[in-house]
Structures are given as structure tokens and as C-alpha cells.
């Protein structure tokens, strides 16, 4: 059965290839090939999953070595697959949610002339993402890692005649590459210390590595995770990535690719287990990010940007969870899965709204859409409730578990981590309620407006290919959390992540935490209702707002900082270097001409004996050749 494993990524890769090479004649059916490839991959994933489930827990980690990829001296990098509970969990998430989003895209992209290209790139993404999670060594991980980066670049820039899309795509790739440098150097360090890059050997022998180096490796891996997962300080590319088509935002920039950083840390848990400092840095990055995301999410009027910052914030929770070590790895993955469901559903809902509203994303132009598109309203609403942690919906189980574990930390960490996570839960409830009210409730503001393309708005429910995936994801958002905890997700993941540590002690009694979180969330909803629901929403964005709102609207100045510290100095440096290089040309050429005369004299003095005459004759010959060549006129 393990022989089927390569099909997981080969099928979507073939789908991409077929769509790329078939040319225009495939315009009519290429998208169905794309859907079929991912669905087939999902079926293979299910087969492998059930087969693995039938094995004893100790035997559930298996390796499939395909061929030797890069080999030189003592270095031997395998092109191989690791099938274990962690990778299979991701396979099912990627291909499952991926299938739904491919299906949705058939409807969503039906009017787009570039639909075939879109499906090729989406398939390419699925293939790369599967390689990322299935690889059995760090170089395979890197292959998938940059592969999804390319797919993300292509898809963010899909509407390539929009300059803003092209710029956003470039920004995403560059900020990811900053993280990739960290990942690459971590790989170099591992190879230097251990002489291998295979997971099994690295994890078995990581104890031999000096503790300082282990800490360095964990920080460098974290840098990689920050780039891919939009974590502080590399978060600002993710909201810009919303330039891509909405199914891309759902699949790549919410459910799967951006969670790769969480995967990386969970996968390398044997390394993180060795360094408390390393884990603390991870948790701090998570806490800072979850606050940043939640704060900025409150200020935007662009429905996709609010969801994007929500993603930043929710991944912050996951990073915080895996930063808690053995008490948190499985919690991070749990939240990753439930978030995959409800955030993908929310994005698809947002896409459905945009589809109905002439691709407008400004929530100030919406209002009262609940009556016009009931399926979208209900599915989106369920996703909303799941995200804010409404009791017994999926977000309630996964997010609460993380906050509980955060409060269970000793000393200041318990208060800071737990407190920040609870506060952000309240903010999440606020910005999501604001989004709900502005979009689906209240006055139908769009009636008096023209769409950006000059047409009237005619909101309508989306076609079946779009609503079915939304319904499936909404069902997942409702029951996912309960089901996953009931069927024993933590025990299933234990062979990959270790046993989940029981919580004990900490800042607050465990029984109190759920109540506290629900209280904060309810407060957030209430404040949003009072501020947004009870008052008319102006169609134009008010410009005279308080300082915090201004700061949040400018992404807490992340781009401004990047611009002042990196972009501008970089441009000046480049200009200066070009100037110097061009000036240097003339100087050097003159130097060469002068040197030519001098060197012959010096050469002569170097020689002794009869060799000299030969040297001189050769030199003479050379000079003759030069003279002859220079005499040739090219006209």
C-alpha cells in the first residue's frame, strides 16, 4: 500500500502539467482534470490513512525511499516520503479542503479567461504542499517549502495586469525568502553537526548537538516558520496576498500553506524539546502576532483583509501552542485543523459575497445581504460562530485548549500568554461581529451605490458548485472540533508528536478559563453590536479617528518600518553602486592600457636563462596578435 504514497503528489503534479501543456483546446475541460487530480489524491490519502489506522501505534511511522536525490561525498539526500500520523493528517486536510476549493473554483472562475492557468497553478500548489508535509528529510521539506512559495507567488499575481497584484506577489515571495534563509542555515548546521538530514536520524541523534547550536537551530527554523506563516516580524505580506483570487486565499492563505510554519515546528519537536529558551521565543512570537493580527483586524473595511488579519492572529495561536512544547504541539495541530475548516469556509463565503457584489470587497458598501443570499449567510454565520469560539462549535474546543495550556504555564508566562490569548479572543469576537453586521445585517447600503465597475449591484446566491463546498465546510466548522476530540486526535498524533502532557498548576484554575474566554468573547460581540449594529454605517470611511485606529489602519506601521529601514536604503545603495561601477569602468580600462606596457618589462625581469627568449618571443607574438586585431576595422 505504501507504494501508492508517491501518487499523492504525482497526481496533482500531472494535473498541473496537463493543464499547462494541453493548450487552448483544454479550456473546456482542463478544470475538471484539475479537480479530479486532487480528489484522486484525497482518495489515495484516505486509503493510506485507514491502512495506517489498522497498524499498532508504534508501527504507524513508515518511510518510503524513492531514489537518491542529491549525493556527494558523505552527503546523501533521499527523495523519500515519511508516512506517519502527522503527515497523513496534513494530507487529508490539504487534499480534502483542496478538493472542495477546487470544486468551488470551477464556479468561481467560470467567467475568467485564465481558468486553465488557474487550475494548473492550484494543482501545482497542492503537489508542492504535499511534498512539504510528506518529505522524510529537511531538503524535501525545503523543496515543498519553496514550491508552495512559487505557487503562492503565481496565484497572488494571478490577475497579472493589476500592478498591485504583481507587487503583492513579489512582496510575498521576498519576505518568504527571508524566512527561507533561516531554514537553509538551520539545515546547514544540522548537516555540519550530524552529517545527515533525514528526519529519523536527526531526531534520534539531536541530543549529541551542543545546546547552543540547538538553540540557534530552533531560532533559525522559527525564522523560516515566520516567513511562511506570516508571523511577526514577517507578517505584512499575508494581508497583501489577498490580491489573489478568493479560492486561493481560502486554500493557500488560510487553510494550508500559511500553516506550514506550525507544521515545521511540530515536525521538529524533538529539537524544540531540548531547548526551553527556543520554545519561549516561539511562544512569544505567537503571542505578539496573535495580538497584532486581532488589533489590525478591527480596523479594516476590506472583508478579505479582515479575514487575512484574522488568519495572522489565529496562526499566532497555533504558534503559541507549539511554543508551549509537549503540552501544546497537538493543540496547535488541532487548532490548525479546525481553523482549516472554518477559515476556508469563511473565505469561500467572502468569495461568494464578492461574486454577488461585482467583486467589491468594501464592507461599507454591503449591508443586509443575509436576505439575498441565505446559504452564504448561514454557512458564513456558522464559520463565524466557530471562529469566535461559540460553545461546542469547533473553534471553542481548539482555541480554548490553547488558552488553557497558556494559562497553565508557570510564573509570568502563564499570565502574559494566557492573558494575551484571552484578550485577543475578545478582539476576535469584536472584529468578526463587526464584519457580520456590516455585511449581512442592517440597511442595504448598496442599493444607492454603483459598483466599482460602474454597474448596479444585483446580489444573488452563488451556483451549486460554490455553495456545496461552503455547506460541507460549515458542517465541518460545527462538528469538527467535537468529532476530532471525540475520536482521539491527540492519541492518533502521539507517535509523531509525543504524548500530550497533562496540564497542572499555572496561573489560573483550569475550570475557570473557558468561562473567562466566553465572557471576553461575549463582551467583544456586545461592543461590536453597540458600536456598529446600533448605528448607521457611513459609506465613506471616516478619516477623523482615534490614534489607535489610525495605527491599525496602517498595519501598525509594519510597511512603513520596512520601507524606511530596508527599501529606501536599498534603493540608494543600488543607485550608488551602479554609479561607482560605471565610473570604475573608465578608470580600470585606462589602468589596463597603462599596465600592459609596464607588465612586459616586469615579465622580462622575472625570467632567467634561455627560457627568457622563448617567453619574449611568445610575448612578442601576443603583442603582434593584439596589434593585428586592433588594426582590424569593424566599420
Amino acid at each position: 500500500m505504501t507504494a501508492l504514497a508517491p501518487l499523492l503528489f504525482v497526481l496533482p503534479a500531472l494535473g498541473a502539467l496537463a493543464n499547462l501543456l494541453a493548450g487552448r483546446r483544454a479550456n473546456a475541460w482542463g478544470h475538471w482534470v484539475g479537480v479530479a487530480a486532487v480528489v484522486a489524491s484525497f482518495v489515495v490519502g484516505l486509503l493510506l490513512f485507514f491502512e495506517t489506522l489498522g497498524l499498532e501505534p508504534e508501527q504507524r511511522s513508515r518511510e518510503v525511499s524513492l531514489f537518491s536525490w542529491i549525493s556527494s561525498g558523505t552527503l546523501d539526500v533521499d527523495f523519500g516520503i515519511r508516512l506517519d500520523p502527522l503527515s497523513l493528517t496534513f494530507v487529508l486536510l490539504i487534499t480534502g479542503v483542496g478538493s472542495l476549493i477546487h470544486l468551488y473554483s470551477v464556479g468561481y472562475m467560470s467567467h475568467d479567461p485564465g481558468r486553465r492557468r488557474f487550475f494548473a497553478q492550484l494543482n501545482l500548489f497542492v503537489a508542492a504542499m504535499l511534498i512539504l508535509v510528506l518529505g522524510n528529510n529537511f531538503v524535501m521539506l525545503y523543496l515543498g517549502w519553496e514550491g508552495v512559495g512559487l505557487a503562492s507567488y503565481l496565484l497572488i499575481g494571478f490577475y497579472q495586469d493589476r500592478p498591485s497584484a504583481a507587487t503583492a506577489a513579489k512582496k510575498a515571495f521576498l519576505m518568504n525568502r527571508v524566512g527561507d534563509v533561516g531554514l537553509a542555515i538551520a539545515i546547514f548546521l544540522l548537516w555540519l553537526e550530524l552529517g545527515t538530514l533525514q528526519y529519523t536520524e536527526v531526531f534520534a541523534r539531536i541530543g549529541e548537538v551542543p545546546s547552543g547550536t540547538v538553540l540557534a537551530i530552533t531560532i533559525l527554523l522559527l525564522l523560516g516558520a515566520c516567513g511562511k506563516s506570516g508571523q511577526f516580524p514577517l507578517q505584512s505580506w499575508l494581508p497583501d496576498a489577498m490580491e489573489g483570487p478568493t479560492p486561493v486565499s481560502a486554500l493557500i492563505h488560510a487553510a494550508t500553506m500559511v500553516t506550514a510554519g506550525v507544521y515545521l515546528i511540530a515536525r521538529t519537536n524533538p529539537i524544540y524539546n531540548l531547548t526551553e529558551t527556543g520554545r519561549l521565543v516561539v511562544a512569544l512570537v505567537g503571542v505578539v502576532t496573535l495580538l497584532i493580527g486581532a488589533i489590525i483586524g478591527c480596523a479594516y473595511d476590506d472583508i478579505k483583509k479582515v479575514l487575512a488579519y484574522s488568519t495572522v492572529s489565529q496562526i499566532g495561536y497555533m504558534i503559541l501552542a507549539v511554543g508551549l512544547g509537549p503540552a501544546g504541539y497537538a493543540l496547535g495541530i488541532f487548532h490548525l485543523l479546525t481553523h482549516g475548516f472554518f477559515k476556508a469556509g469563511l473565505f469561500l463565503g467572502a468569495g461568494s459575497v464578492m461574486h454577488a457584489m461585482n467583486d467589491d470587497v468594501n464592507m461599507r458598501h454591503f449591508g443586509g445581504l443575509g436576505r439575498r443570499m441565505p446559504i452564504t449567510f448561514v454557512t458564513f454565520g456558522l464559520g463565524y460562530l466557530a471562529l469566535i469560539g461559540f460553545p461546542f462549535l469547533s473553534g471553542y474546543f481548539s482555541k480554548d485548549a490553547i488558552i488553557e495550556a497558556a494559562f497553565a504555564q508557570e510564573g509570568w508566562q502563564g499570565w502574559v500568554f494566557g492573558g494575551a490569548a484571552t484578550l485577543a479572543a475578545g478582539l476576535t469576537a469584536f472584529y468578526m461581529t463587526r464584519l457580520m453586521i456590516m455585511t449581512f445585517f442592517g440597511k442595504e447600503r448598496w442599493k444607492e451605490l454603483k459598483a466599482p465597475d460602474g454597474q448596479d449591484y444585483h446580489p444573488h446566491e452563488s451556483p451549486t458548485t460554490m455553495t456545496v463546498p461552503m455547506i460541507v465546510l460549515a458542517v465541518g466548522s460545527v462538528f469538527g472540533g467535537f468529532t476530532l476530540s471525540a475520536i482521539g486526535l491527540y492519541e492518533w498524533l502521539a507517535p509523531s508528536l509525543g504524548e500530550l502532557q497533562e496540564l497542572e498548576g499555572g496561573a489560573l484554575p483550569h475550570a475557570l478559563v473557558p468561562w473567562l474566554v466566553v465572557l471576553f468573547s461575549a463582551l467583544g460581540v456586545l461592543v461590536a453590536y453597540l458600536l456598529v449594529g446600533r448605528r448607521p454605517t457611513p459609506v465613506e470611511r471616516p478619516e477623523r479617528v482615534s490614534l489607535p485606529v489610525q495605527a491599525a489602519r496602517r498595519d501598525l506601521y509594519a510597511d512603513a518600518v520596512n520601507e524606511t529601514l530596508i527599501e529606501r536604503p536599498g534603493i540608494w545603495l543600488t543607485r550608488a553602486l551602479v554609479f561607482v561601477d560605471n565610473r570604475g569602468v573608465d578608470g580600470l580600462v585606462n589602468g589596463v592600457a597603462a599596465g600592459l606596457g609596464g607588465s612586459s618589462g616586469r615579465l622580462r625581469r622575472l625570467q632567467t636563462g634561455f627560457v627568457r627568449s622563448y617567453a619574449l618571443s611568445m610575448l612578442g607574438g601576443s603583442v603582434f596578435v593584439v596589434a593585428a586585431l586592433l588594426a582590424v576595422r569593424f566599420a
Binding site: 531514489f67 556527494s72 513579489k170 632567467t608 582590424v632 569593424f634
Partner: protein, 536 residues
């Protein structure tokens, strides 16, 4: 005495000579040239198949050896032979030339120039390259090293862009200066070998055998002579300023051969001559070279972003890449050596493809200025896709050929040169920057740029000042057409090899590995990372 390499050398010479009688029959000349290039490629395939990697691993330094005395008084031989490093480079050369001929098939040449002359010079360049990579006599190598300049000089000077005179003379002077310094070292080497052996020699294996007996101070002087020549050829910063001019003014096919292959003679020279013949000097001076290499990685990348001319842009990206190759060459581990060697091949492929893409753009728009193009993806999506792939290979995306070599260079350099490696790794951000910047300027966004607009207007897609409907122009296939069948024929082999080598570099690495192991032995160095790593 295996005649294969002599045949390999003579085939393009004969082909070039045949161009003269055929000068008035252009189609026949082109066909003959193409057949010659294909025969040469087949020869290399045969040589590759016959190359015995097991024997190389067992210690056979050169294969297909051929040697006859040349100037007995000097002790020079017409001696040829290849190791794995030379083999992959002659394979690269033989692989590129037929495609370049196909590219040049319908090229508009400057007034008064004939295609037969053009193709003759291409074949002559190929012949000298084959000679330079297969020579195992240092003097013979020198002769080819200098001879290589002549056809390239004429290719640039006679067939190049508007500024070709300046560029070709500059190229020639720089190279010649380097050659002369090398000549001095060469003679010094001969004298030194005479002191050690009692009789001077130019034979590489004999010189290598006595390398450890030469005092370090002498080695350093001799090393520097060779080094300057190779550093100019490679080129390393600060010896690089001839390359942007030559690369920009050369016709595209010559630019591909110049930057893709001819420059590799410099880095090949480091590996074949500097390291094994002057092992102590190489180690003593490695910090200097590594510093220059790392400066090149960053400097070349930053300058690439500042360029206005597409060909100069590609030339500067190459300077950054040469930094990686030089870093790997002087980091003294078998992974870094193998990576540097593979990098030479991969850079030839990716930069070759980038230059070809530039050529295709210039053929449509008639301008080399980056700002004259914009939004081309809308008009010519296939062309844009190919440019992106070439760019991805240039920034060493995993899954393309260049990743394997760049990874090997970096992972292999890290143990001995951690700081330099980290700086070079930061260089991969800059690589992404220049590739994506270039792609965005020329391919993405709305259709714009003087060259594009002019091409569309002349094709009648819109009058002066009228809104140009790109869809109309594209559907007519006029103005700014997408790739033609012949152009796809030029690009397809490159694309296939770029992707295949990304996933299956094994066959090439198998050829390279024994020879870089031999180089490690000649240096007298163990691999810095033993099996099991340094922790064990």
C-alpha cells in the same frame, strides 16, 4: 591513445572551414553548420556513455587520453584527456551550440555580414572551448585559453550591438592582460618543475605530482598569475567590468557562449589548475578569494537590480552566480566542489535561457531597454512563462537544476566558511529580488513600454494615441506575437533539462563526484564533515 577527443576537436574546425566554400549558399552553410553541431553533440553522448565512473573512482585521473610530443625542446605535448569535471563542461558546450544555431537561424545580421561567417565563428568558438576543457598539457591549455579569444572577439566585434567596437576591444584587452600574467606564471611553473625534476615539464599529471615539493612562497607567486587570469575570465569582482559591456553588445548566441561557457573556463581553471598545482597557496589565499566571491554575490545582485539594459542585467546576475561558484571552489569540501562544478553547468543552462529570452524580446521590440517593455505576459503568455522558468532557475528554486548546485555549494561551504556562507545565503533573497523585479517590469501589469506599443501599432492593433486592445493584437498574432515553433524548438530542450536536472541530478553528479574526490586528494585535505557529522 584514444582518438575520440581529437575527433571532438576537429569536427567543429572542419565545420568552420567548410563555411568558407559555402559562403554564397546560405541555406547549405546553415545546414552544414547545424549538422556539424549535431555530430559534435552525438560524439559527446558517445564519450559520456563510454566514460567509466568506476575507473575514475578507483583513481584513473583522466580518460580518453591522447598524447603526442609537440615541441620536444619545451617538453610540451599535444595531450588531451577528460575527467568528470571536463566531461560535464564539454557536454554543456555541445548541448548549447545546436540550440543557439537554431536561434540564430533567422537572425537579422548587421549590414554586410554573412550567416556563413557567423556560423563559422560559432563553430570555431566551440572548437577552442573543446580544446581548453580537454587539454592535459598546461601549455596546450594556455594556447587554447588565448585562442578562445579570437573567434569571440570577432563575434562581438562584427556581429554585435551598436557599441560593439568598444565592448570587443575591452573584452580582448582584459582577457589578454590576464593571459599574459598567466604566461609569466606558466614559464615560472616550467622553471620550477625543472628545478625539482631536473627537466622542465608542462604535463599536468607530472606537475601535480611535484606540487607538494614546491615551497609555499613560490606557489603563491605562481598561483597569483593563474588566479588573475582566471578571475578576469570568470569574472570575479573587481575584475568584472568587461563582462556587462561584452555581454550586452555581443549577439545573443555569442553572449550565451561567452557567459554560459567561456566564463566557466575561469572557474574550471581554479579547480583544475590553481587547486591541484598550488595546493598550499590555494589554502593560504582562500580567504582572499572567498572574500571576493562573497562580495560578488551581493554586489552583482544589487547592480543587477539597478540595470536599465536587459543584457547587462543578465550579465550582472551572472557575476553574482560566479561568486557562488568561486565560494564553492575555495571552500575545500567534496560537496562544495561538486556543487561548484554542477553550478557551472546549471548556470550555463539558466543564463543561456535568460539570454535567449532577452533575444526573443529584442527580436520583437527592437530595444534592449527594460523600460521599453511591460505587460508582455498579456500578449505572449508562453514567452512570459518561459522567462519566469528561466528566472526561477536563476534564483535556484528547488525543482530546477540550479537548486541542486547552489544547495551543494552552500551546504558544502558552511563547515569551513560559515560566515561567508551565511552572507552568500542572504544573497538568495537578492536573487529573488532581481528576478522578480525584472519579471514584474517586463511581463506583469498593463501592456506598456515604447517597444511594445510601437510593435503593436505597426501591426495595426491601434493607431497613434488609440487605446490598444491587446486581445485583438494577440488574436491576430501580429505586433507582439507569442513564441513561434522554431523558438519553442530552441527553448524546449533547455526547459526539459532544467527541470530534469532539478529532480534527477544523479547521473551528472555520478560523473562529477569521483573527480572532485580526486581534487580533494590532490589538495591533501579530508572532507570537513565526516560520516555522522562533527558532533560524533
Amino acid at each position: 591513445m584514444n582518438p575520440m577527443l581529437i575527433i571532438l576537436l576537429l569536427v567543429p574546425v572542419v565545420g568552420a572551414l567548410l563555411m568558407y566554400p559555402l559562403r554564397h549558399n546560405v541555406p547549405a552553410a546553415k545546414a552544414t553548420a547545424m549538422v556539424t553541431a549535431l555530430v559534435e553533440f552525438l560524439l559527446v553522448v558517445v564519450i559520456w556513455v563510454g566514460y567509466d565512473t568506476a575507473a575514475a573512482a578507483a583513481g584513473t585521473r583522466f580518460q580518453y587520453e591522447f598524447s603526442v610530443p609537440w615541441i620536444p625542446a619545451f617538453g610540451t605535448h599535444l595531450a588531451f584527456g577528460i575527467d568528470g569535471i571536463a566531461l560535464v563542461l564539454i557536454a554543456l558546450t555541445a548541448f548549447l551550440v545546436p540550440g543557439l544555431m537554431l536561434f540564430a537561424w533567422a537572425e537579422k545580421l548587421p549590414e554586410g555580414r554573412t550567416a556563413s561567417g557567423y556560423f563559422a565563428l560559432l563553430l570555431a568558438t566551440q572548437a577552442t572551448l573543446m580544446g581548453v576543457f580537454t587539454a592535459t598539457d598546461v601549455f596546450l591549455f594556455y594556447v587554447f585559453f588565448e585562442a578562445m579569444l579570437i573567434p569571440m572577439y570577432f563575434l562581438i566585434g562584427r556581429f554585435g550591438g551598436p557599441n560593439r567596437q568598444y565592448a570587443s576591444v575591452k573584452f580582448f584587452l582584459y582577457s589578454l592582460l590576464g593571459g599574459l600574467i598567466m604566461l609569466a606564471s606558466l614559464i615560472g611553473l616550467y622553471v620550477t618543475s625543472g628545478n625539482v625534476l631536473g627537466q622542465g615539464t608542462f604535463t599536468w599529471t607530472e606537475l601535480q605530482a611535484i606540487a607538494q615539493d614546491v615551497p609555499t612562497s613560490t606557489q603563491i607567486w605562481l598561483f597569483l598569475g593563474f588566479f588573475v587570469a582566471f578571475a578576469i575570465k570568470a569574472p570575479l569582482v573587481p575584475f568584472h567590468t568587461w563582462l556587462p559591456d561584452a555581454g550586452a553588445e555581443a549577439p545573443i548566441v555569442a553572449a550565451v557562449l561567452l557567459v554560459g561557457v567561456l566564463d566557466k573556463v575561469g572557474t574550471f581553471g581554479f579547480l583544475r589548475y590553481c587547486l591541484p598545482l598550488f595546493p598550499d597557496a590555494s589554502q593560504a589565499l582562500a580567504p582572499l578569494v572567498i572574500t571576493l566571491a562573497v562580495i560578488g554575490v551581493i554586489y552583482g545582485a544589487l547592480l543587477a537590480v539597478g540595470q536599465k539594459d536587459m543584457s547587462r542585467f543578465v550579465a550582472y546576475t551572472s557575476i553574482a552566480h560566479f561568486g557562488f561558484i568561486a565560494l564553492g571552489t575555495f571552500a575545500f569540501s567534496s560537496q562544495a566542489f561538486a556543487g561548484a562544478t554542477l553550478y557551472m553547468v546549471n548556470h550555463g543552462l539558466s543564463t543561456g535561457m535568460l539570454f535567449v529570452m532577452v533575444g526573443l524580446l529584442v527580436a520583437r521590440g527592437g530595444s534592449r531597454l527594460i523600460s521599453d517593455y511591460g505587460g508582455v505576459a498579456k500578449l505572449a503568455p508562453l514567452l512570459a512563462g518561459c522567462l519566469l522558468l528561466a528566472g526561477m532557475s536563476s534564483l535556484a528554486l528547488p525543482g530546477t537544476n540550479s537548486f541542486v548546485s547552489e544547495f551543494l555549494v552552500l551546504v558544502g561551504s558552511f563547515p569551513n566558511e560559515p560566515v561567508a556562507t551565511i552572507i552568500a545565503t542572504v544573497g538568495i533573497i537578492f536573487a529573488a529580488l532581481y528576478v522578480l523585479w525584472f519579471y514584474q517590469q517586463t511581463m506583469q501589469g498593463p501592456v506598456r513600454g515604447n517597444a511594445v506599443i510601437k510593435a503593436l501599432e505597426t501591426a495595426g492593433a491601434g493607431g497613434p494615441g488609440a487605446m490598444i486592445d491587446p486581445a485583438v493584437a494577440a488574436s491576430r498574432g501580429a505586433g507582439f506575437p507569442d513564441l513561434t515553433k522554431r523558438e519553442i524548438g530552441v527553448l524546449a530542450p533547455l526547459i526539459v533539462v532544467i527541470v530534469l536536472l532539478g529532480f534527477f541530478p544523479g547521473p551528472v553528479l555520478d560523473v562529477i563526484n569521483p573527480s572532485v574526490q580526486a581534487t580533494m586528494t590532490e589538495l591533501g585535505l579530508p572532507d570537513p564533515v565526516p560520516a555522522g557529522g562533527t558532533s560524533r
